[in-house]
């Protein structure tokens, strides 16, 4: 934003729900979507006398996340109580970590088209989620607020980044990377709609070239990549206007209003909670041995950045495309299987990033929901490479294969989609196209090479895309020069 004379400075705070079967301090299930208050007990309801007991699996997943973000796992971390009143917070405090988090100082490194990025991580800590308030909508007969404690005590990690991001796109890009890392190592399902992954942004601006940080505003409720980007854009704009008007940006917490497309003030610094943190006396400090860290590290799967580098190295795929294919482990695996079946990595990459991705996007599913097996896709690619089917007809074949379980060979034969390589049959079409398109033909004869493309297109159209384009090209040139 150098055009305004101000530089935005952005840091993210990300909450991710950990993939455990049971809650952080009791044995209740963490499953999403159960009837309200189906998964509760005295502990997660905060009943008088109940006490928390730490679920060891939560620590293990926390260590895994910390290692994936290149953080230092602390041998001793301490739970603390964050005190505030809210109806869905049953104890009147949230058990979190404060002074001594599980892990500190890490970094996420990744390549973008315009250069390498390093976003440093301040800390990763463990905490419990609160319950959920279900408020009556305006006009409802039932004006009560209902409380669902199924989510109360669900384990979370909070990841806090340094303010190393300088634009809304950069923030969204980093959040995408982070999500990829966390889902790859299996600590969260990353489902933003169900609230398994949530993001707050700390946004400030400062005069371009300044090194001191401006007054930061925390923006909450950024539960999609799009909202994150738009909220930061809005906030930078708003803060710039405030400063330009000769006023001071106020330190406050703001909320992204998805309906109004703007951030609105939630509470000012004066109203900020004093959380009165103190060490949780009901839980001993969390001890993590070096051996435990080593054990978790050894079981860590390949991370997106490492996968990307492997794709570049092993398949000679350009870095930007490799990054796309390395987004998730499942996508990479699909590509690698298709490439092996096709015997052509470049074509497989094009197909996965092209038709496969387009179709998944249209259907709104992930690679797990793809309707063509990588092996079947590989066989289709082989047919294209062998000249059995044209590139454009192959797209039709792919659509017919999708979700039907039918093979490429079968579809091509049944529907007569095989490429027309028969010179005599094609020559008839070519002659007719030249006759029907006098203008284009003469322009070509007068040296306009571009007209040839138009004529090729007409031939392809007339053959339903089945003509071998190389042959069409040659026949057209020959016919046009013969005539002349």
């Amino acid at each position: 934003m150098s055009d305004t004379g101000f530089e935005p400075v952005i840091g993210l705070e990300i909450h991710a729900q950990l993939l455990t079967d049971t809650k952080i301090f009791c044995g209740c299930a963490t499953r999403f979507g159960a009837a309200p208050n189906a998964h509760v007990c005295p502990v997660c309801l905060g009943l008088p006398g109940a006490l928390p007991v730490l679920n060891r699996r939560v620590v293990e997943l926390g260590i895994r996340a910390a290692l994936a973000l290149n953080c230092t796992v602390q041998p001793l971390s301490v739970f603390a109580r964050k005190n505030y009143f809210y109806p869905d917070l049953p104890k009147g405090y949230q058990i979190s970590q404060y002074e001594h988090p599980l892990a500190t100082e890490g970094a996420v490194r990744y390549a973008q088209d315009d250069g390498d990025r390093v976003v440093r991580i301040i800390r990763v800590h463990l905490e419990e989620d609160a319950g959920k308030s279900l408020h009556a909508a305006a006009g409802d007969v039932d004006r009560r607020t209902h409380l669902d404690f199924n989510r109360s005590g669900v384990p979370l990690i909070e990841i806090v980044s340094h303010p190393d991001l300088r634009s809304p796109a950069e923030a969204a890009g980093f959040f995408t990377r982070l999500r990829g890392i966390l889902t790859t190592v299996g600590v969260t399902d990353g489902n933003m709609e169900e609230g398994s992954l949530r993001c707050d942004a700390n946004v400030s601006i400062r005069p371009a070239g300044a090194s001191a940080l401006g007054v930061k505003v925390e923006v909450k409720n950024l539960n999609s990549f799009r909202f994150l980007q738009r909220a930061i854009e809005f906030e930078i704009h708003r803060q710039t206007e405030v400063v330009r008007a000769g006023k001071q940006v106020e330190q406050e917490t703001r909320l992204w209003d998805t309906a109004a497309n703007r951030t609105v003030s939630m509470r000012s610094k004066e109203d900020a909670h004093d959380y009165r943190y103190f060490p949780e006396p009901d839980l001993p400090p969390v001890e993590v041995s070096e051996a435990w860290v080593a054990e978790v590290a050894a079981a860590l799967p390949e991370l997106p950045e490492a996968r990307k580098q492997r794709l570049v190295r092993d398949y000679r795929i350009p870095p930007a495309e490799a990054a796309q294919l390395a987004d998730t482990g499942a996508l990479t695996a699909y590509f690698e299987a298709a490439a092996a079946a096709a015997g052509n990595a470049k074509a497989a990459a094009n197909w996965v990033m092209g038709e496969v991705t387009r179709r998944l996007k249209a259907d709104g599913g992930g690679i797990g929901a793809v309707g063509v097996s990588p092996e079947a896709l590989g066989r289709l690619i082989r047919m294209v490479d062998a000249g059995t089917v044209s590139g454009s007809a192959a797209k039709t074949v792919f659509e017919r294969m999708y979700g039907t379980g039918r093979g490429a060979q079968e579809i091509v034969e049944a529907e007569g989609l095989a490429q027309i390589g028969d010179e005599e049959r094609l020559l008839d079409v070519v002659t007719r196209v030249i006759a029907d398109n006098d203008d284009a033909a003469s322009r070509f004869r007068n040296g306009n090479e571009g007209s040839l493309g138009f004529l090729v297109g007409q031939v392809m159209r007339a053959t339903g895309g089945r003509a071998n384009p190389r042959l069409v090209n040659a026949l057209l040139r020959r016919s046009l020069s013969d005539d002349a």
């Binding site: 005295p42 309801l45 905060g46 009943l47 008088p48 006398g49 109940a50 006490l51 928390p52 007991v53 730490l54 109580r81 005190n83 009143f85 109806p87 049953p90 104890k91 009147g92 405090y93 409380l147 004093d274 009165r276 943190y277 103190f278 006396p281 009901d282 839980l283 001993p284």
Partner: protein, 495 residues
């Protein structure tokens, strides 16, 4: 043995051996409560029917049923310990009508040992106080003099045992709440080492200080009760893994030549003359039975009270946040028109908590506030370590440290209710054991000029309850003060 002369757990066991049923024992104690608790007000809720049913079920066990250590022993439970199906209110309006859906671990263990819960006992609200006057149910009375407080906060449990309304009871001790009422009522009360007994199901006051412990007429009875409730609990992360010794056997093997430390310097000021004289005589008794008495300095002991009144309210301010009117028990009535969430919180807590509880919530909230945390809470935690260091040094030389349990004997109801600071100072000898986590026992060692009981407190090394029991048993053998029953025990004492 006549049922009317039942006093101790040992008496109950003997009666059952001689043909009485658990139902007979239970009915006897229920009869006494019906006859005499009107004057004492030890109980806030009686579980008469349930107790009799349970006793009948115990009587109906076949001849091959396993022996149970507390078979048919009626036990009174302080009202801040969760009992499934029985009201548990911590003597607070804010928990009026609250019935927990689960039993505290100690209740499960007592039940497994064959004990019969006969009722819930009065206490200072949320265990905050040392008189049992801060109860929504009104004060309990001292069986030795009904005009006097029984002590607190576990005053109802102590009074019940002293008045022979139950052979045993459970209390909780955060700054002296078992030992002080035991001393005021002339019975035995023990605060185990922090972590020895599970806190699961104890309504938290100050989590790093709270411990559940036993009341009994004798050291052996307290040991029997502790035996049943002690030991690690997977539901309490602060419960200790330490193996549980045979406490009852220890009570049968009195210590012969222990070394006892006495911090004479801290006893110079602020101890009533009557208490001082009785305590000095008790020390002589200990010497007489072979103990070596040495002077131990506890240079930081004088900071126990101020330290305690930072740490305990701080934790309480957080622990009591859950009583907000949202999910269970009391919610202040609100006019529909001005009903807001903040107003509901405000009125529920303003009206639901008593003054002493609100005072401590305010103190604790202040101590934890931004900008004050380091000066108060953190400093207090550091002083805690210094106090513990004093004791660790002492235990390199002695087996136990002895001092009076309290600087005075029981005082009159209402006498100190307007002077919280004076009441707080009464914790001077008891708060140290909570701040350090060390085990401590109070046993009766005589009476002052007004005929009110004086408590002898013995503090031991961590997980050294066995030592306290053995030294206590030795003293008790020599000076069986428990045999003298208070007037409120009716015609039954002295035995």
């Amino acid at each position: 043995m006549e049922l009317s002369s039942l006093g101790t757990i040992a008496d109950v066991r003997a009666a059952l051996r001689n043909g009485a049923g658990a139902v007979d024992v239970c009915a006897e104690f229920l009869d006494r409560i019906a006859a005499r608790d009107g004057a004492i007000r030890a109980f806030t809720h009686l579980a008469a029917d349930r107790a009799l049913e349970r006793a009948a079920a115990l009587d109906g066990r076949g001849p091959d049923a396993p022996a149970l250590p507390l078979l048919g022993v009626p036990v009174a439970i302080k009202d801040n310990i969760c009992t499934r199906g029985l009201p548990t209110t911590a003597s607070s309006r804010i928990l009026a009508g609250y019935v927990p859906p689960y039993d505290a671990t100690v209740i499960e263990r007592l039940t497994a040992a064959g004990a019969v819960v006969i009722g819930k006992t009065n206490c200072d609200e949320f265990a905050m106080g040392s008189t049992t006057e801060h109860s929504v149910r009104g004060p309990s009375r001292n069986p030795w003099n009904p005009a006097c407080v029984p002590g607190g906060s576990s005053g109802g449990s102590a009074a019940a045992v002293a008045a022979r309304l139950a052979p045993a009871a459970l209390g909780s001790d955060t700054g002296g709440s078992i030992r002080q009422p035991a001393a005021f009522c002339g019975i035995v009360g023990m605060k185990p080492t922090y972590g020895r007994v599970s806190r699961y199901g104890l309504l938290a006051f100050a989590s790093s200080l709270d411990q559940i412990g036993p009341f009994g007429l004798t050291v052996a009875d307290a040991a029997a009760l502790l035996q049943a409730i002690a030991g690690p609990d997977p539901r309490d992360a602060t419960s200790a893994g330490a193996a549980v010794p045979a406490f009852e056997e220890a009570a049968a093997e009195p210590a012969r030549n222990p070394t006892i430390g006495v911090p004479w310097s801290i006893l110079e000021n602020g101890v009533d003359a009557g208490v001082g004289a009785v305590f000095t005589a008790a020390v002589e008794t200990l010497r007489g039975l072979g103990a070596t008495i040495v002077d131990v300095p506890l240079p930081h002991a004088e900071y126990a009270v101020p330290t305690y009144y930072i740490v305990a309210p701080a934790e309480a301010s957080s622990n009591l946040a859950r009583y907000d009117g949202v999910r269970y028990a009391y919610r202040a009535p609100l006019d529909e028109r001005d009903a807001t969430l903040d107003r509901m919180y405000d009125r529920t807590r303003r009206h639901g908590f008593g003054d002493e509880v609100k005072r401590r919530i305010m103190l604790g909230t202040y101590a934890l506030s931004a900008g004050y945390y380091d000066a108060y809470y953190l400093k207090a935690q550091q002083v805690r370590t210094l106090i513990r260091d004093d004791y660790d040094a002492a235990f390199r030389r002695v087996d136990a440290v002895a001092m009076p349990t309290t600087p005075t004997t029981a005082f009159r109801i209402g006498e100190r209710s307007d002077d919280p600071l004076q009441l707080y100072m009464g914790d001077v000898f008891t708060a140290g054991a909570n701040l350090t986590g060390l085990p401590a026992i109070s046993l009766p060692c005589g009476r002052d000029g007004a005929g009110l009981p004086v408590g002898l407190q013995l503090i031991g090394p961590a997980f050294g309850e066995e030592t306290l029991i053995r030294v206590g048993a030795a003293y008790e053998e020599q000076a069986p003060w428990w045999r003298e029953a208070p007037p409120a025990a009716g015609a039954r004492g002295p035995e």
